[in-house]
């Protein structure tokens, strides 16, 4: 049981990096970015194909990130320059990426058998096998959180946060909100693709379907994190997102143990996220209901 939970945690950390990317678009920019499903797969595809061809696996992951940036840039341009509503712009990129991902991989699946990956590096170095995923995830997660914490405290970072909060105000203060919007989308999708690249190397294959539903998993992680770490400072909120992702993985692992079919997982996740999104509304409704009862009793 310990190892099952431990591997759920490792996976939660890797997907937590993706959730941090979703956090940038969904929470910081206030932009429901469905590019994520496509850019996660794109990251996985690039990283798998390059690793399979013998490219340095770390370099493969970095190039996967650049691919994610391009995807975010595409959505950003569709939204700001062509004035397509955000949701629709990101769906267009996501659909386009399906074709592009198949082109990148050449087939729906790229296995990484006997291929050098970041994970096999550590194995060869004699690192305890069962701790490799956990360790690598932890390093990348810490680096990402540290970078995000620093960046969103800078002048540009503050301008991006203000863009998501009140675009009207920050334009009046001389910020070109098209640029900050695009920048945020590029960064968010870079993290998503980074996570995709890592997950592909960790699971030993890139797959055309690996990103399906990624956005919903990201949202689940963010919401669970917020419920557990509400009203804390930015650093805690970022850690909360990863923590939410870990909790999500543990719950998934447990319900699978209790006999849920793995093909039912997406339904389960959708219901979970719907309930979590309803939670704040339910809370205020209950509060109002109680107030009304108190008044009618008085």
């Amino acid at each position: 049981m310990f190892w099952i939970i431990q591997s759920a945690i490792s996976l939660g950390i890797l997907w937590g990096i993706m959730s941090l990317g979703v956090y940038i678009t969904f929470r910081v920019l206030n932009f429901a970015d469905l590019t994520v499903d496509g850019s996660f797969t794109l990251g996985g595809a690039i990283s798998a194909v390059m690793a399979a061809r013998g490219v340095n696996p770390l370099l493969a992951v970095i190039i996967a990130m650049i691919g994610g940036m391009a995807a975010g840039l595409c959505t950003g341009l569709l939204h700001t320059k062509l004035r397509i509503p955000g949701l629709l712009a990101s769906i267009l990129t996501q659909i386009a990426l399906y074709s592009i991902n198949l082109r990148v991989m050449g087939s729906p699946n790229v296995p990484l058998l006997r291929v050098t990956t970041i994970f096999t590096w550590l194995e060869e170095a004699g690192f305890p096998t069962r701790w490799i995923s956990f360790f690598i995830g932890l390093i990348f997660m810490c680096a990402v959180i540290a970078l995000m914490y620093w960046f969103f405290g800078t002048e540009i970072g503050s301008a991006i946060r203000a863009t998501g909060d009140n675009a009207h105000m920050i334009r009046a203060l001389g910020v070109h909100t098209d640029t900050t919007m695009i920048l945020g989308l590029v960064m968010g999708n870079a993290l998503v693709a980074l996570a995709g690249g890592l997950v592909a190397q960790q699971q030993g294959y890139g797959d055309i379907g690996m990103g399906t539903g990624a956005i919903v998993i990201g949202l689940a992680a963010i919401i669970i994190g917020e419920v557990l770490f509400s009203k804390k400072n930015f650093l805690f909120r970022l850690a909360g997102v990863v923590f939410g992702s870990i909790i999500y993985r543990i719950v998934i692992t447990l319900v699978l143990r209790f006999g849920l079919k793995s093909t039912d997982l997406k339904l389960f996740t959708a219901v979970l996220v719907a309930l979590a999104l309803y939670l704040p509304v339910l809370r205020s409704e209950l509060y109002q209901h109680r107030q009304r009862r108190r008044r009618s009793n008085a």
């Binding site: 002048e155 970072g157 946060r161 203000a162 909060d165 009140n166 009046a172 001389g174």
Partner: protein, 264 residues
């Protein structure tokens, strides 16, 4: 300071709702002017301000700001020259950011933003000092989120943000209209203080005739897209509400039928 020449602006061109908001406006604002702008709904007051700010672009005419042609310059580019406060208190500040962060964003208005800290320690001390003078009890809540503040506090903060980096012009779009009378009066006196202290060239839209008369050195009245009254100096100082009504009737050839302007 500001020179508008033959400015026209029409909304919904080619539809049944076509509406000419400004008709061939000529206006020169001198350095140090504090202009109050008054007029009924749809007179073109906000359109005038939005054209100066670059939120809207004119159909024809030209706008020179400090001898620089800004007619087609996008909003974010001319923001460096303009301080703005809006009618809606929510509009001028970012609610999820702290008071200090909002001020720091405003201190960098029109400057190139880089990777140095968004809010430095030394700025924070400076803001604390400034907020103390504002006397709204905000100096101890420097990192509190702005959404926790009242409308009046937010508007005072926005005013401070608009003048933090000296603007060439301060544009106030009915910035007290959404506040209760007492808070509105407080924000207005703060406005007067800041304008005098920094010798700011100011344009203030108001619905309130008394405020329009009380504040500033020059008064503009707009009606159906035209400037129908433009008085300044001694004539403005002697002005009474009755005179203003009379001027309106003379210039427009109709009775003033705007309750909000008359009653407030």
């Amino acid at each position: 300071m500001l020179k508008m020449t033959k400015i026209s602006k029409t909304f919904y061109i080619g539809t049944p709702n076509e509406h000419q908001a400004l008709k061939n406006i000529d206006l020169t604002v001198n350095s140090g002017d504090f202009i109050t702008v008054i007029g009924g709904n749809g007179a073109g007051k906000s359109t005038l301000l939005n054209l100066i700010a670059g939120v809207l672009l004119p159909d024809s005419g030209s706008i020179l700001l400090d001898d620089r042609d800004v007619t087609w310059m996008p909003e974010y580019k001319r923001a460096g020259m303009l301080g703005r406060v809006f009618q809606d208190p929510m509009r001028g500040t970012a609610g999820d950011l702290g008071i200090d962060e909002n001020l720091a964003l405003a201190a960098r208005r029109g400057k190139r933003r880089g990777l140095s800290w968004g809010t430095s320690k030394s700025e924070r001390d400076k803001y604390k000092e400034m907020l103390k003078q504002l006397d709204l009890g905000l100096e101890g809540r420097l990192s509190a989120k702005v959404k926790l503040l009242s409308g009046g506090q937010r508007q005072a903060l926005t005013l401070m943000m608009a003048t933090l980096k000296q603007p060439k012009m301060l544009l106030l779009d009915e910035h007290t209209a959404a506040l209760d009378p007492k808070t509105g009066a407080k924000v207005l006196s703060l406005t007067e203080e800041l304008v005098a202290e920094n010798n700011l060239t100011t344009m203030m839209i108001t619905h309130n005739m008394r405020d329009a008369i009380k504040y500033g050195n020059r008064l503009l009245m707009l009606h159906e897209g035209r400037i129908i009254v433009d008085i300044s100096g001694e004539d403005k100082n002697k002005l009474q509400v009755e005179d203003l009504l009379h001027l309106f009737e003379q210039a427009s050839g109709s009775q003033l039928d705007n309750d909000r302007m008359l009653l407030s």
